[in-house]
Amino acid sequence: MARHTLHVGLEIGTTKVAVVIAETGSDGLLRIIGAGEAVSRGVRKGEIVDIGKVALCLTDAVAEAEEKADREIKDVVLSVTGSHIDTLNRRGVVLIAEDRNEIDEEDLYAVEQSALDVSIPAGNAFLHTMIQHYYVDGQKGVDSPIGMIGRKLEAEFHMVHGQKARIHNLTRCIAEANLGANNVVMSAVASAQAVLDPGEKAMGALVIDIGGGTTDYILCLDGSVRQSGVLAVGGDHLTNDISIGLRVTTKWAEKLKNEEADVAPGATAARGLITMDDPTYAGGQVERRILNTVTEARVREIFTILRRRLNFERHAPFVGAGVFITGGTAELKGIAALASDVFGVPARVAKPRPLPGPSALFESPRFSTAVGLVLYSEAAHAALDEISIFDRLRNKLGRILPGL
């Protein structure tokens, strides 16, 4: 049964490909036993533009993780991102038949189907259907309606859909690297799984995963997903802005971004010069103030767009746990202070929650999505074990993972 206890998360990002291998031991605990990383090529703004190149990077990252874990992997859980991802909230309704009024599994399935009865663009497919609330005879706050008595079951769902063609590109890459895909998960859902504990989900939290090419966000309120989405702007844009604004090479822009830039409010008034230790820029210096101004403008813009999209002011009182910034760009100096300034609630940089295993492997905001995929995979697996074959056939992951 070794295959059933191995969970592999694979994130094909714009800047890196990350693999995390975890294993459920005989004690039932999930341990991370290996992780691999490779520079990503052939991905732009979170979407695959060159399958062959991506497959090569993939093979490198997988080989590294396999070596560390000393396991061979076959199936992975994939994350998906990109501007083609769209979401909506929808309510489904089902009337319980006269001759029985106890709500059963079938009704939960039916209410979900009724919510899915919505027209999305041709060529799109649903990725997730996540339950927010059930209502039995109009009464809210029902966590699990099975066995309850009622005549009308209603449910609100958060639904995520994306272009089949783009998702197919992902699975093609996997196949090129001789791997199989068990499941495809929206990046933001995975990241939230990694950085939030159930308590924080219940208190309300906004997770913002800023990667190289995209910013994935998810708003959890009251233990369930309220909003999520993708903005196709990320760390690459920061590098590009710096490169144009300061007239330096991309390589130097990257270095300045990682080592010097500070986006905390007030840092735009910083004084002083940064000397670039590079013969091609003999005596080259850049002004700290300009670097911070260019960088801050971009990150503030990203946050401001999200605030508007989420209509955050309305939700702010219910976001008790605050804003969690994660992903590769979360390592930018001052980003939490800026987030807290824009959103008006406490914000912090978050890395994956601690798990048993050699934590140095994955303890960085960069690994949130990949670690989250492993957790998602484990939760899905555990839930599948508990429920009937009937449900397993339907693979209704959205439903059996209440809360996420």
Binding site: E47, V49, P121, A122, I244, T250, I290, A297, R300
Partner: protein, 418 residues
Amino acid sequence: MINYGSVAQMSKPIVPVSSCRIVGVGGAGLSFLERLDRESGGIMDLVAVHTSAQALQHSCAVVKVPIGREATKGLGAGGDAGLGRAAGQESAEQIRAACEGAELVILCAGLGGGTGSGAAPLVAQQAKAAGAMVIGLVTLPFAGEGGKRKSQAEEALVRLARHCVTVLCFENDRMSELGPTEATMRQAFTAASATLSRAVHSVLRMVGLPAIMPVGLDELWQMFRGAEARCHFGYGSGTGPDRVIEAVEQALQDPLLDGATILSEPGDVLVHLTGGADLRLAEVQSVLLRLSRHVAPSSQILLGVSEDPNNAGMLELVILAATKSGVMPDVEDDEPTLDGAEPGVAAGDGGSPPDKEPTKPASKRGSKAAGKGEGGATQVELPFEQAMRGRFKDLDPTMVEGQDLDVPTYIRLRLRLK
């Protein structure tokens, strides 16, 4: 998103009324005429052609041509294209008489049903024989309506294409892209017919308005000769400082443009702009530059610019694209037998083309994709904007809230660095 109300805001078309006729065939065609009539305030020359006497009675059209009195007894074709065709043949003379004297006929029909599928090709044939240039504007049935309607529609499309300069198709399945996912049936149909009616208005304005750089019927005709019968259409409008970006984005998202992938194939692209007296040269250049990212380098871009005094502060953009993938046989004979085997005609191409990765052709074109304006509009490449996009210059722009987010924020906010 697409602005449904925009036709109402569009100023009244200055139509050469005498020379252009809008012909609606069948139930869908007639109801589309109703909409056009309402919007244009009754100045258009509308002709209704139908098998059902009852439907004709209620039509707003000035000229009503009942067809197939013998074949259908005036009761409609009941979804049978064969009956519709028989009706059309029976009344060919009357149809021709109704089209006599028109220079341009825009034929509107819903394909898939009886009268639309059966009679529309015959109406096109008669209109052409009467000396008019015919543009078809048709809807294709929902996929869920079943195989029979689909095959009837496809067959009709092939027949229709033989007599039309070009055919603009709207697939009903695309309706869901027009509005919010929660749109009601009525909203969806209204949005769809608004899209089609925009197409009609735009074509009329294109040939009818006083122009700075005119597009004549002859140029339209030239453009579509030898092109694939199906043509793609995009309309966008914008106001305010970002009107160029708004208009281009909206036009590229037009459902009739079929995802804009068509532009990346070699062919002819007609770009027509209507602005007020305040239309600037830089804006025209900006539109061309933005579109050039989507258009194949070997394509010819025909540019037309019109001025409408009512359009002050507003920019309207129309894109018409025809690919040169095949040769349209110039069929002149009467009702030709239909057994497929028609080279170049996109038979059976009911579905949209496979979703191509739009970034690929873009990256091939690179920076030399400057527009090839014709008729005097020499397009000067603006290296400035390309530089502003930096490493993203070959990618599709990330448009959010009317801004291209690939351009550095500090530039868009006009922050002073020095």
